[in-house]
Symmetry: C2
């Protein structure tokens, strides 16, 4: 058969990076590559209780089809939790998703025609880039500094990009850089989006995992014209294997998300929604999140300190106030993708930075994850990486 695929499939192929990352799954590798939570913090014992309770109290309901919108008691609890981000939602403004990745796919489907432009941070989340690519869009990358997107660069690029259709940002502990936007920039982003009349997709998978300081108001909190779509998830605060996220959007936009959800997979798992809801009723979710923050905060410190002690001084890296990642900047002459071969020989892995730039061409950086590896492996892995870098620099 000479298979004729849709045109959009030309943009979706086996990526080099995906093949490379498969190698990092070998157990002998100290991998800082994935974005995996620490499995030892999953509430396994509590889940046993929760699951039993859900099946005892309403097993038939838990196993049956349910509404596309999602389990109402859970959406009510999400409304409460989103107050942390200065968001005042109603349960009806929320649609449950199979992870927040699905919200990225749906945003692409709702807004993007072929040739439309997604304006994003440079660098940005690889999974979002892949999700949007399925809709045959192009990307304009906006410069970032330690306070978020550089607003002058955003304005300049919007002025010269009439095809701009959507702005995508990760303001809290950004993936891949670990950086957090200042409050001022959040406000300005909404003002500029108002001026250019564009929707904003605010992706917030890590916001609750803040190790120090106060949670700033979300971009959504400054939304004056119903243009911000907020994506949340239980993957980092509870468990990614359950695939539970949500979208909070202005009514008219949320209606589109609901139609798209219904056509795409009817609804999110009934039983998973009821289980997380029950967990929140039976246990202290905030205390659970505190435990995660404590462990990740220590691992961040350990990774940063070990890099400070062992990396040559021309190597810089970000100091994330929360989340899962730090971003390492190499001198111009080094190529993180090529260096990965040598890192793998020393059985340590990261994600080369190039993949996070949708338009490519920036190979002298890489992303490190500190949530998934125990202390001694963090120290050992960073020491090995330091050796690799020194060899590359001819030191």
């Amino acid at each position: 058969m000479a298979i004729k695929y849709a045109k959009r499939m030309e943009k979706m192929g086996a990526s080099e990076i995906r093949e490379l990352l498969k190698l990092t799954a070998r157990p002998e590798i100290i991998s800082f590559a994935g974005g995996l939570p620490a499995p030892e913090l999953f509430p396994v014992e509590a889940m046993k209780e929760v699951s039993k309770k859900v099946l005892e109290e309403g097993g038939q309901k838990a196993l049956q089809y349910s509404t596309t919108e999602g389990f109402l008691p859970l959406r009510e609890k999400i409304v409460e939790r989103m107050k942390k981000f200065d968001i005042n939602a109603q349960p009806d403004d929320i649609l449950m998703l199979s992870g927040s990745q699905q919200g990225l796919d749906f945003a692409g489907r709702i807004f993007l025609n072929p040739g439309d432009v997604v304006v994003c941070e440079s660098p940005s989340y690889l999974g979002a880039i892949n999700a949007f690519k399925a809709y045959e869009c192009n990307f304009v990358e906006v410069d970032t500094d330690d306070h978020g997107m550089v607003m002058e660069d955003l304005e300049r690029k919007l002025a010269e990009t009439p095809e701009a259709k959507m702005i995508y940002v990760i303001p809290d502990f950004q993936n891949p850089t670990g950086k957090t936007w200042s409050v001022q920039r959040r406000k300005e982003l909404v003002e500029i989006a108002n001026k250019y009349d564009l929707p904003i997709v605010e992706d917030n998978p890590y916001g609750e995992l803040r190790f120090e300081g106060e949670i700033p108001p979300s971009v959504k909190a400054f939304d004056t014209e119903d243009r911000v779509i907020f994506l949340g998830t239980f993957s980092k605060t509870f468990a990614p294997g359950m695939r539970l996220g949500w979208v909070y959007a202005p009514h008219e936009i949320l209606e589109r998300f609901i139609f798209v959800k219904q056509a795409a997979d009817l609804q999110t798992s009934t039983i998973s929604q009821m289980e997380i809801n029950k967990f929140m009723e039976m246990y202290d979710f905030d205390a659970h999140v505190e435990k995660i923050k404590e462990v990740y905060g220590k691992r961040r410190d350990l990774m940063i300190n070990t890099m400070k002690e062992n990396f040559p001084e021309e190597i810089t890296f970000t100091y994330p106030e929360g989340g899962l990642f730090t971003w390492v900047q190499l001198p111009e002459a080094l190529n993180a993708k090529e260096m990965m071969v040598k890192a793998l020989e020393k059985q340590v892995a990261y994600v080369p930075g190039g993949s996070f730039f949708p338009n490519g061409g920036r190979e002298n950086a890489f992303r490190l994850n500190y949530s998934n590896m125990p202390d001694e492996k963090i120290v050992e892995g960073i020491k090995r990486l330091a050796e690799v870098i020194k060899e590359e620099l001819g030191k």
Copy 2:
């Protein structure tokens, strides 16, 4: 904000029928409208054991991210179960999905450009029509008789439709008609698809629920040129609330499904996959399916017999050998959508047939579901429906 949606959203709106169906959810209504399994047959007690066991044996793994392809032991068991349909697959040829509805969405994404034509049975599954519509396709409906698609009509329409891109069929206990294709037609379908070089999507959610006779070989069983994509699900044999289905496709096509799955929602729930796998290890899945068949078979008999006794003789209906639905044909002069208002007054509901014809214009039929209502409600509901029809006919 003057929201600019993607062009594809013009085809996705609140359907009249969806609004109507919301009314059928009221508890006082005897509803034959949904496609819901009987909740009293869900293995709730077994699920308690299964869930406990999965968390005890590998709780951290069950709650963590896992591969896009899906849990290997479960895919191995699916390979075994598909032998019922004369399918000899390898676990690597299978991708786990969040319900088989997701397979329809992905097939559309992989094959359909705007303006492409999906060739389907007339009538066909509403959810598939909605999933494909998101890719801005058109539909050509092929006549069906009691043996499946009429092959002469298929050939004629393919000859005059160069835009044809994909053939979509539900050969076993079709939704909405309950009809099953003959073996001869399955073979011929593949021959014609070979001639026109088109992929076939074979949707098989009900095939295992056969009340009498032998399971015929699937269309996939006759696939000589790697063009048949087979969709399966646990929604009807286990529980729809868990959202677990799969696609079995030729290697090159499956690879596309995997890319699309990764961009769309990363992976299907790890814990749900491990739970169904554990259920199949701890319990007799075939015996569980036998129980479902026994109950549904009796309900089918009861519904058919009550229609025979109470419906005016000019009303015809199909005799499904399995599955969940029967299809009632009204005289030309009657309109099932208009009649629904009167049915709801008598607190009984069905799905008007018009929605199952993607090109519209066929309103004198409706679909009845017999799996979800207990015996006494089936009898009472059909009697009420008979009254409604008689009133419409002026009898």
